[in-house]
Amino acid sequence: MRMISFDKILIVFLILTGILVFLPDVNASENSCVDCHKTLTPFIEEQKRFNQIRIQHLERNAECSLECHEDRVRQLATANFQQWAESVHALKGVTCEACHGGDPKQATKEKAHIDFKNITDPESPVYYTNVPKTCGKCHSQELDNFENSTHFRKLESLQLAPTCTTCHHPHTFTVLNPEDFRNSCGNCHSIYKKVAPYDIPLKAEDMLRKVNKLKFNIDNARQDIFWAKKNGTDVAQAEKYTDNALKTLGELAPMWHEFNLTHFEDVIDSANSEIKDAEDLVKSAPVPTETAAAPGVPGFIGITGLISLMAVFYILRKK
């Protein structure tokens, strides 16, 4: 009798554990795609709103599906064309097939789509890990630098790292606003996700600020050189310095894609020191400014004199 009840308890226990193990996760939004993609996917305002709705669905455990939102998805597909049409790519005549493959010159749809592969196909030129090579067909300098980066090595080895389109949103191909670095890069570079140094977004932002400062310094130096030249100073050497700095400034944008902030900063600093040399050559010694004399305190002498006078009277009277 005793043995049987023990067995029963054991069976009930096992069933309960089984239920617990196979119980679906209560909070579906936990560790879902949305965790990363709410800030990583390309967004126009419309898409942002769409994504917000998606997050709300997931929080209520409702999966969003193509069956429910077919018209919506269709609309977004048109948005891609709209975004491209307003981009620099459209302006320069870089059309869909340049990245997606296919042959628009063919007469029939079947023939035109012969080389076309879906974006989820690892052979597709716009598959996540193939994107750098595709962009590099035209942007070779950027690709060369990107291939030297830790991002690229991680992309090759782990298939998990930012690619070109992470920052340059596909179809619009705008440059990521530095104000969004902490939000976007912070998806990995944060103290809570121990995958990358947390201070990188801030450092990167500071670095771009330094680039602006360099531009500003070059402008100032060129102004000063212009006036020095008018005054008859020899500015050949100073002009050489600023030309070098300008050349470095032009190389900074491709070099950014190396994602090596130490190297980047060194290059900026060397350009800045060249500008400083140029300024030293054309600038005359600063005129020392006169310091104003401290104003006197009126009334103070009067008060002390009077008090001492009264004290003398007081002593005389007492005697």
């Binding site: 606003n177 104000e179 969004d180 670095f181 902490r182 939000n183 912070g186 944060s190 103290i191 947390y198 201070d199 977004p201 801030l202 500003f216 100032n220 009126p298 009334g299 009067g302 008060i303 009077l306 009264m310």
Partner: protein, 149 residues
Amino acid sequence: MQPHLKRAFTILALIIIAFIFVRSLVVPESFGQYGWYRGDSVKEIRNLTVNYRGSASCGEENCHENIYTVWAKDRHKTVNCETCHGPAQKHVLDAREPLMPANDSRDYCGKCHFKRISRPEAFPQIDPGAHGEDLRCVYCHNPHKPWFD
């Protein structure tokens, strides 16, 4: 009159005379020109140097347009540029005059954002011991565009 009263009145008279004398020396001429204060002080205060310029001038003239538009649209739009970046008048008059580095210390952000029982509950506040591992807030939060998860 009794002698002790005489003495007292003499002392009182002396004190009054001394007061009038001292007052005539100490009170500046322009006192009472406009009201119960020194009239010249108006001129002096008017001549004080102005150190602050106001946020609008940062976004003007194509200088910090990008960051200005980001800031002006976001939740920190009520906190002015110079609150963190310091007085900017000199820098606005001569762009080559650099600004002081912005105050981005943890305690400075904490002036508004550390948890206080007296603050409205909806206002974003953190418990400094439990959040952020004692690092500067700006490592994760962009002060021009604060976002909350």
